[in-house]
Symmetry: C2
Subunit: 227 residues, 2 copies
C-alpha cells in the first residue's frame, strides 16, 4: 500500500512549497517508497485525517500517522531498515539535528524575510488572511514591514552558506559521498526559495549551487521539476 504525504500548497496544487514537506518528498524517494503527495492549502490542514496534526508534513503509512519532518525521517529509517539509510548511523542521526538547527535558525530566518510576501501572494484569499494573521503575530510586524529589508537580506544570504562551502571542499554532500537526510533538510529550504521567490539567490558558479544541482538531479529530477 502506498504512503500518503499531506503537504502544503497555495492556489496552484502543482507547486507545493513547504520546505519541511520537501524534506519528506526527498526522504521518501531516497527510501525508494511509493507515495502519493496530497498538497492542501493552509486552512485545510486542521481537517486532514480528522485533525491528526496542526501542521504538515503528515504521512499516513497503513495504520500509522506521523507528523513533523524529523520524526517522519526517524520513522522511515526505523520502519524501512532494508532501504537506503537516511542517516548512516547514530552519529549521522544526531548531527542531522544540528544541520536542522543551522537551516532553521540561519537560513530559514533569512528566507522568511526574502519570501514572506511572495508566499502570501500565492495563496487563496482565505489562506492569505490566515497566513497574514499568524505570521504577523509570530514575526512581530506586518508582512510589508518584514519584507521591507528584502534587498539587504538577499545580499546577505550567500555569506550564510559558508559552513556548507567549507564542507564541500572535502566531500560532495553533507552526507559524505552520497546525500542523506541532512542534505534534504537544506534542499527543502532551497525548494521553498525557488518555488516562492523564483530564485536561489546564489550565483551559478557557487559551490552551493553545484551541490544543489546534484540534489535536484536525484530521483529523476523530481525536485527540479517544481519551480
Amino acid at each position: 500500500m502506498s504512503i500518503t504525504l499531506y503537504s502544503l500548497c497555495g492556489t496552484d496544487a502543482a507547486r507545493p512549497f513547504s520546505p519541511h514537506c520537501w524534506k519528506i518528498v526527498m526522504a521518501l524517494a531516497h527510501k525508494g517508497l511509493d507515495f502519493e503527495e496530497r498538497p492542501l492549502p493552509f486552512t485545510a490542514i486542521p481537517q486532514i485525517e480528522n485533525g491528526a496534526s496542526a501542521t504538515v508534513p503528515l504521512i499516513r503509512d497503513g495504520d500509522r500517522l506521523v507528523s513533523d519532518s524529523f520524526q517522519i525521517a526517524l520513522y522511515l529509517e526505523e520502519a524501512y531498515p532494508e532501504q537506503p539509510s537516511l542517516f548512516n548511523g547514530d552519529g549521522g542521526k544526531a548531527m542531522a539535528r544540528f544541520v536542522e538547527g543551522y537551516s532553521q535558525t540561519v537560513l530559514h530566518t533569512a528566507a522568511t524575510k526574502i519570501g514572506v510576501k511572495m508566499i502570501h501572494d500565492m495563496l487563496d484569499p482565505v489562506d492569505r488572511e490566515y497566513f497574514r494573521r499568524t505570521r504577523e503575530g509570530r514575526l512581530g510586524g506586518t508582512l510589508e514591514d518584514i519584507s521591507s529589508n528584502r534587498d539587504a537580506e538577499i545580499a546577505a544570504f550567500p555569506a550564510k552558506l559558508e559552513p556548507i562551502r567549507h564542507m564541500l571542499k572535502f566531500q560532495p554532500f553533507l552526507g559524505g559521498e552520497g546525500p542523506l537526510f541532512a542534505d534534504y533538510i537544506v534542499v527543502g529550504l532551497f525548494q521553498w526559495l525557488r518555488i516562492t521567490t523564483g530564485s536561489t539567490h546564489l550565483s551559478v558558479a557557487d559551490p552551493v549551487t553545484l551541490w544543489l544541482d546534484r540534489c535536484l538531479d536525484l530521483f529523476g529530477g523530481r525536485a527540479r521539476a517544481v519551480a
Copy 2:
C-alpha cells in the same frame, strides 16, 4: 608506547590555547589513549620532528606522524577501532565536516576579532612579531584595527550559537546522547576563548553554557583545568 601531541602555547606552557589542538586533546582522551602533550611557541613549530608540519596539532604515534586536526581524528578512529568511536558511523563522520565548517566560518571568525590582540599579548617577543606579521597579512588589517570592533563582536557572538541551541532542545550533545568529535570541534573554539580572553562571552544560563559545562567535566575535568 604513548602518543606525543605537539600543540601551541605562548609564554606559559601550562596554558596551550590552540582550538585545533584542544580538539585533539579531547579526541585522545575520548579514545582513552595515553598521550603526552608538548606545547611549543609559534616559531618553534617548523622545527618539530624535522619539519614534519607547518602547523599543529601534529601527533607522533609510533612510526606515524599525522597533522591537521580532522585528519588526526580520522586516523585515531581507524587505528583504534576498539576504543569509543569519535564519529558513530559514516554519517557522523561526514557531518562532522559540516560542524567544522560552521565552527570555522562562523565562530572562529568571531573569536578572532574578539581575541586576536589578547593572543598576541600572551606570546614571547619573537612569536609576537611572527603572529602580527602573518595575521595582519591574512586578515587584512593591523591587530588593533581587527580588535577595534571587539565590543560589537562580543555582543553579536551569542546569536551565532542558535544552531546549537536548536539542537540542544532534542539531545544533550552534538553527538546525541554522548559527545563525539563534533562536540570537541566546538569545545576547541571555547577553550581558545576561555584561555585567551578569559570568558566564553555567554551567560551562565545559556543552554550552550550548560552543554559546555558537560564537556568541560569530561575526562576528569581535563579541559576545565586550563583557563
